[in-house]
């Protein structure tokens, strides 16, 4: 086993790709392809559990580090590492992986072998993106992610799938190519592609602003931050259920992850100067996404717009530039991955039965499918942030961290506005629930079968995690905070210099820290 545990990150990243090769080679029947894919995804999940078990909670630095020279005499390297932030996102990916494959068991009936291979390749690219500690390696994974997703939307998607797939591809690429130039420029300055060397760069404020803008554009499109969100509803609505779950559950987190991992610590001065703008865009997105979600006729589109709103919270938390706010952001990423992933799965369940997602087509479903209705209610409540479920933890920490942030002008106003987003979220989700599940059961919905065993098997693990994250987030936060402090250190350093010049920004970090302490159960 040593040859696995010595290169555990490589195995975790590439096990799905290996599975994809197996699927292509041996998946002659659809059944075989599905089983091999599921096996590979489960194996990957087991590998990632090894990461969780051996992760040192108090250590904020990268762990399980792997490093091998790749190009330019080692100045560009195959360099992987795992800190608290990456750990949870990788776990989210490997956790959703098998569930996604299981959810596609019946929904994808054509060209199963290719679909399974693309799902697995996508997983490799996503895990690689979270683990890469070399900028070129990161970029390669980041771009490579586009290819399988493009095929998943374009081949197995709905009616306007080609339009949605191309739009998804080009929108994402618009951002990334400018990031590539920024990376090249930094590479020339730093003399190496290592993230650690990029962090050492001493850049003027003007340089930082340009570079930050290039990075932030790439990530803002991926998040997506208002007004770059227009690709999202198209991609979500046209993608097959499995694609939507990955898109909402993991792909969107690439954007917020990138902001946190690269844009903020690499260019801290620019993050301080330009962060407020992004925070405002985030708040606009929160309210805009909620309002647009409210008027949707299509359940899937409603959930898609709710993502714009939820991801706005994440960005707001990150640009509070406090550990608490950022921790809230990461928790919200995970919570959104679970709850929105589950919502898309649930929408997929009803779509498979009725081949429509129009809210008007339903009503009184709770009579026909009581278990389905109960699960849907549960996930809805998680999504709108009911205390005790996952959505609450993240939103609470974000709002709390932002409220106390001395780095964000008008922080309290932003929090107040964001909080109205929470209320709006409750309104559109519950209103949708009412129209779909309560009232009189229509003729066409009579006799719809309730959740099958396979569907339960997909949903139950997510439900468990939703509760776990809501009730007991301590193990999560413990492993997160040391890493976040490390990531935000460059920002803190600037704040310290500024305060020593008498530009003290008032609020200390003590207050928000108390909140996370309370949530962790420290007394």
């Amino acid at each position: 086993m040593a040859f696995i545990t010595d290169h555990i990150l490589t195995w975790t990243a590439f096990a799905p790709a290996l599975g994809a090769v197996l699927v292509l080679a041996a998946g002659r029947t659809p059944g075989a392809a599905r089983r091999i894919a599921l096996g590979a995804a489960l194996a990957d999940f087991v590998l990632s559990l090894h990461l969780l078990r051996h992760f040192e909670a108090a250590n904020g630095a990268d762990q399980f580090v792997e490093h091998a020279p790749w190009l330019a005499g080692g100045k560009i390297a195959y360099s992987l590492g795992l800190d608290g932030v990456s750990l949870w996102l990788v776990l989210l990916t490997t956790f959703l992986g098998p569930l996604v494959i299981l959810s596609a068991w019946r929904a994808i009936a054509e060209r199963v072998r290719e679909a399974m291979a693309f799902l697995l390749l996508l997983q490799t690219a996503m895990i690689g993106t979270f683990l890469a500690r070399d900028m070129l390696l990161f970029y390669v994974f980041w771009e490579a992610m586009l290819i399988p997703m493009y095929f998943l939307i374009g081949i197995w998607g709905g009616e306007r799938r080609v339009y949605a797939a191309v739009k998804f591809f080009l929108f994402t690429m618009v951002g990334s190519v400018f990031m590539l130039v920024a990376i090249l420029w930094c590479y020339q300055q730093a003399g190496s592609m290592a993230l650690a060397d990029f962090l050492q760069l001493e850049l003027s404020r003007g340089q930082q602003s340009w570079l930050f803008a290039a990075f932030a554009l790439a990530f803002a499109i991926k998040v997506p931050l208002f007004p770059f969100h227009t690709w999202l509803p198209d991609a979500h609505v046209e993608a097959p259920t499995a694609g939507s779950v990955i898109l909402a559950g993991i792909l969107l987190k690439m954007g917020t992850y990138g902001l946190l991992r690269f844009a903020i610590p690499l260019f801290p001065e620019a993050a301080l100067a330009l962060g407020p703008w992004l925070a405002w865009l985030a708040v606009i997105g929160i309210i805009y996404g909620a309002l647009v979600a409210m008027v949707q006729q299509d359940v899937k589109k409603l959930v898609a717009y709710s993502s714009v709103s939820h991801l706005g919270f994440v960005v707001l938390g990150l640009f509070s530039l406090t550990t608490t706010g950022a921790a809230g952001g990461v928790v919200q990423m995970l919570a959104h991955g679970l709850s929105t992933g589950a919502l898309f799965l649930l929408v997929g369940v009803i779509y498979e039965r009725r081949h429509t997602r129009q809210i008007a087509e339903f009503g009184g479903l709770a009579h026909a499918m009581p278990a389905y209705a109960a699960v849907f209610l549960f996930v809805t409540l998680a999504s709108i942030g009911l205390p005790g479920l996952c959505g609450f933890t993240g939103e609470f920490l974000i709002l709390f961290g932002t409220f106390g942030s001395g780095l964000l002008p008008h922080a309290r106003l932003l929090v107040a506005l964001a909080a109205t987003g929470v209320v709006l979220g409750a309104i559109y989700m519950l209103w949708m629930y009412q129209r779909v599940f309560l009232g009189k059961l229509g003729e066409r919905n009579r006799g719809l079968p309730d959740l099958s065993v396979r569907e339960w098997a997909v949903l139950l693990p997510i439900l468990v995690m939703i509760v776990a994250l809501g009730v007991h987030p301590a193990p999560l936060l413990e492993r997160l905070e040391p890493s976040l402090e490390r990531i935000l250190a460059p920002v803190a350093a600037i704040r310290q210099t500024e305060s020593s010049y008498g530009l003290a920004l008032g609020v200390s970090a003590a207050q928000p820290a108390a909140a996370t302490a309370a949530l962790k159960g420290d007394r």
Partner: protein
């Protein structure tokens, strides 16, 4: 030069000249063989052509490259790593072209016997062009190559478009040759000698502010710009690429372009003193070349024509690399740094040329593979609908080539662009790099369209259904190479950079 020393040079030069001689003799042999054998099947011609090319490669492999500065035939040709690199590349391109051409002929059941000697002579011209270190050999090489290619373009005798393409290429090519000759004459007038070293000395010694030198260099640039399809000397490209049989188009787009860029890089060494004059203009032309190629490619409905315009755009990316080579040493950077950046840029160009050859030949190979005959080529993009179901393997290779041409990782096309843009940024030309990436964004759209049609549309109406095992297999190998160079390009890039560093001028 007097007799004895000339003979002596020839004697010692002979091993180094072997690759060129093998091709020349092989070309004549194929011609004679065709004259003395009858019948419609000409498999043996194809076989002899491949053997000749292999022989040339073996001859090249057998002799070690001389250290920098070694020349053949009294300074006419360089025998350095650079020419070795291009000789091997040319031979490879010619072999792949021969395989694709033969596969089409087999399907038709009638061989074009003239194709084989012509492809050998054209390759000879390309190799000489990449090795030329004398104004005379430069001209002779470019003419040897061009004359053979003119005929190859018109190779589809039954087709009006093919004849038109050949004629157009011939007429415009003659203009370009005239420009070249005028430029060479002016250079000779300045230097009083024809070898590059002497010209360089004369250029260095010439007083600043002269008009003749920049003019001469400009005329040479026009001629080479014509061969690489640089805007505004690209007008012939779409019609010629479209009219020529697909395998010839692939040969031209990769072989001619590589040889012309090799010559351009050698000539670039004559330029530095006049670079000040040429740099801004070349910058504008590079930007126009990229942008024009991509914008027009967006609206093409034929795959060959789309690839023709895209090849203009790729010439633009390569010109960015040339600009990076030229720009170093212009500003305050130290000599050592400047040399490092120059080598990086030169290596990037060589690497890109190879990668471009692999992916573009692959794409044209797929066209050849799916064509029913030369008259019914797999050109219309709509005809690729549903290919991923009918021919999953061929569709997958074409998808790899398209992603690579668009520069998406993990393909070699991405790495090639990465090296070029990296060199451009290192040379301090950040705005050009930005424009370059915007262009690759544009290009992604039309490359993706091919994939959309293959994977996401169902077949309606006429579809391409030619088939050839050899061609499909060859495309598979090329796709594999494209992926391999996309993941582990390191040592090959190092070789390219080393090759450029050792270039004789």
């Amino acid at each position: 030069m007097n007799g004895p020393s000339h003979a002596m040079t020839l004697g010692t030069d002979l091993p180094q000249l072997a690759p060129y001689l093998v091709l020349a003799v092989g070309g004549l042999a194929v011609m004679l063989l065709d004259a003395f054998t009858g019948g419609r099947r000409k498999d043996h011609l194809s076989l002899l052509t491949l053997l000749t090319l292999l022989g040339a490669a073996a001859a090249q492999g057998a002799v070690p490259a001389d250290p920098r500065g070694a020349t053949l035939m009294g300074g006419m040709l360089a025998a350095d790593r650079f020419s070795r690199f291009f000789n091997l590349l040319t031979v490879t391109i010619a072999m792949l072209t021969t395989v694709f051409a033969t596969s089409v002929y087999e399907r038709e059941g009638r061989h074009r016997a003239d194709f084989y000697p012509l492809v050998l002579f054209a390759s000879l011209g390309m190799m000489l062009l990449a090795a030329a270190t004398d104004l005379l050999s430069l001209f002779l090489a470019i003419e040897t190559m061009s004359l053979a290619v003119y005929v190859l373009v018109a190779g589809n005798r039954g087709s009006l478009r093919s004849s038109e393409a050949g004629f157009k290429y011939l007429i415009l090519g003659a203009f370009a040759s005239a420009f070249l000759l005028m430029g060479l004459a002016l250079l000779y007038g300045q230097a009083g000698a024809t070898d590059y070293a002497a010209v360089r000395r004369a250029v260095d010694a010439a007083p600043a502010g002269g008009v003749l030198l920049p003019l001469a260099c400009g005329l040479v640039l026009v001629a080479l710009g014509f061969k690489v399809a640089m805007v505004p000397f690209h007008m012939w490209t779409p019609d010629v690429y479209d009219g020529a049989p697909a395998y010839v188009t692939g040969f031209m787009a990769t072989g001619v372009k590589a040889a012309a860029f090799a010559a351009l890089l050698r000539v670039a060494w004559l330029l530095p003193p006049v670079a000040e004059v040429w740099f801004p203009l070349l910058t504008v032309l590079a930007v126009l070349t990229m942008t024009y190629g991509n914008l027009v490619a967006l609206s093409q409905s034929g795959l060959k024509r789309m690839l023709a315009y895209s090849s203009i755009a790729h010439a633009g990316y390569l010109l960015l690399g040339v600009l990076a080579v030229l720009n170093t040493g212009r500003d305050s950077a130290t000599a050592v740094q400047a040399a490092a950046v120059r080598d990086a840029a030169g290596g990037a160009i060589l690497f890109y040329l190879v990668v471009y050859a692999l992916m573009n030949l692959g794409a044209f190979g797929v066209v050849a593979c799916l064509s029913r005959s030369r008259d019914q080529e797999a050109d219309a993009i709509d005809g690729y609908a549903g290919l991923s179901r009918r021919r999953p393997f061929v569709a997958a290779t074409l998808a790899v080539f398209m992603f690579s041409l668009a520069g998406i990782p993990p393909t070699a096309g991405f790495v090639g662009k990465f090296y070029i843009f990296d060199a451009v940024v290192k040379a301090g030309l950040v705005p050009l790099a930005v424009w370059g990436v915007i262009n690759s964004l544009l290009s992604a759209y039309y490359y993706l369209r091919v994939i959309v049609v293959m994977y996401m549309k169902t077949a309606e109406g006429e579809v391409h259904d030619g088939h050839s095992w050899e061609a499909a297999f060859t495309c598979g190998v090329l796709a594999l190479l494209v992926l391999l160079l996309g993941v582990v390009p390191g040592s090959f890039y190092a070789l390219a950079a080393h090759t450029f560093r050792q270039m004789t001028y």
